[in-house]
Symmetry: C2
Subunit: 235 residues, 2 copies
C-alpha cells in the first residue's frame, strides 16, 4: 500500500457497500478506489434483465468521478442498464494463497465494486470525451494515434457514465493467515504463488500494409505489467 | 481452437443464452464451455440482492455438469443465491485488439456465462467432494497435500452447486477486423498486443517452519500460464 492510499477522503459507507465479511480486507479511502480502477481496464458489469442477473465483461475508463462503459446500441446489457442500479466490479488477481489447511486457502487480489444508476451520454463532445477516457485507459496514446469515431460510428455506440460515489474496495495481500495457529506445526508448505499479467510482444495484423512502424506507445507497453499495483488515476 | 472444441454435443440455446450481438464470436459446443471453465478458477458471481445486482469475484471448480462456488455461511451473496437464478461469468483476457479506427478496437478473450438456480450442498461427503473439485481447480495436487476441512470448518462453509446445463460461450481471437476495409489505407499500425498471465516463483510464508520443502506440484506450476487455452476439464 502506498502512502497515498492511506490518506485522503473516506469512501461513503451504506448498507450496500459496508463489508460484512473479512473486514480486514476492506479499504475505505477514495484513493484506494482510484488505485484499483487505474490499474485495469476490464470490468464485469452486472445488470438485472427480466429479474435475472447478467454479468458481462467489458472494458472501462475512469476519471475522478465517473466510470465509462460502452457497447453497441443493440446490446442487451446496456439497453437494460439505464434507469436501474448496476454493479460494476473490477478485479485484479495477484496470487494464490496456499495455506496449511484447505480452509485457509485464498486469493490475493484487488477488487472494487461500484453501484450506480448509469446515465446515457448523448452529447457529441461528452461522448467523444468518454470514449477518449475509455480508449486511453486500455492503451495510453491510442486515442490520438488511431482514427477517431465517425458520426455514424458514434451513433452506433452506447456510452454509459457511471458515478463513482458509491463503491467498496477489498484488497488482500501477503501470506496465509494460519502461520501463528496450531496448523503451523504441520509438515505443510505455505506461502503465496504470485500471479503476474504481462503484455506480450505486439503481433501485427497480417493485413497490415508494409512500411507502417509500430508506434512507440505500443512498443513501450510490451513486456510490462497489465494490472500493476499503483495509486492515482490514468488519463 | 482444438479439434475437440469443434465437435461434440451442442449447448442448448434459449432467449437468455442466445447471443444477439457479435454472433461470430459465439461458440456453441459443450466442449467450448468445458475449455473455458477448465482454463481458470476465478469467476464473477452475479446475484440480485434487494432488486440490485451484486457481482462478486470468487473461485470455482467445475466437473462435467456442475460448477461449485463456496464462501462463508455469513456471505451476503451466497445467502441470496439459492432459490434465485444467478449468473456466473468466467472471463480470460488474451489480448488487446488495436485496430486502425478506435471504433474497431476490442479485446481477445474467452468467456463463459452460466445461468442456474444454485443448490446448497449439505451432505458431508458431497460437500467434501465439491471442495475437493474447487481446491484442485485452483492448484492441482493441493487437496491431498494440505490439511482437509474439520467438521467445524465444513459447517462454516457454504457450498453452492451450479448446474452447467444453461450457458453461453464467447471467444474472440485474431487480428482486428478492419484490415480489408477503407481504413487499411491509413498510416496506422494495427494488430494485437497479447496478454499473458503467469504463475510467478513461490513466496514462502515468513512464518514457515524451517525444513519444509516446496512440494513438487507447486514448484511445477511456477512459470507456467495461469489461464492456458486448452480443451477438456480439470479434475
Amino acid at each position: 500500500m502506498t502512502a497515498d492510499a492511506a490518506s485522503g477522503p473516506e469512501l461513503p459507507v451504506n448498507d450496500r457497500t459496508r463489508l460484512r465479511r473479512m473486514r480486514e480486507k476492506s479499504r475505505t479511502r477514495r484513493s484506494d478506489l482510484d488505485a484499483v480502477l487505474a490499474a485495469g481496464f476490464l470490468c464485469h458489469l452486472g445488470v438485472v434483465v427480466d429479474g435475472t442477473p447478467m454479468v458481462v465483461p467489458t472494458v472501462y475508463g475512469a476519471t475522478a468521478d465517473t466510470l465509462y462503459v460502452h457497447g453497441s446500441v443493440a446490446s442487451r446489457s446496456l439497453v437494460q442498464a439505464p434507469d436501474a442500479t448496476v454493479c460494476v466490479t473490477v478485479t485484479h488477481l495477484d496470487g494464490l494463497v496456499l495455506a496449511r489447511s484447505v480452509f485457509e486457502h485464498g486469493v490475493n487480489y484487488r477488487c472494487a465494486m461500484v453501484y450506480a444508476t448509469p446515465r446515457v451520454v448523448t452529447g457529441r463532445e461528452d461522448k467523444l470525451e468518454g470514449l477518449r477516457v475509455l480508449t486511453e485507459q486500455c492503451m495510453p496514446g491510442q486515442w490520438d494515434y488511431a482514427r477517431g469515431p465517425s458520426r455514424k460510428e458514434l451513433a452506433a455506440t452506447t456510452l454509459l457514465a457511471i458515478d463513482l460515489a458509491e463503491a467498496s474496495v477489498k484488497v488482500r495481500t501477503g501470506p496465509p493467515d494460519d502461520g501463528d495457529g496450531p496448523d503451523a506445526d504441520l509438515d505443510v508448505w505455505a506461502g503465496v504463488l504470485p500471479v503476474t499479467t504481462v503484455w506480450g510482444q505486439p503481433v501485427a495484423d497480417p493485413a497490415l500494409r508494409t512500411g507502417i512502424a509500430l508506434p512507440p506507445h505500443v512498443d513501450m507497453a510490451a513486456g510490462t505489467e497489465v494490472f500493476p499495483a499503483r495509486s492515482g488515476r490514468t488519463p
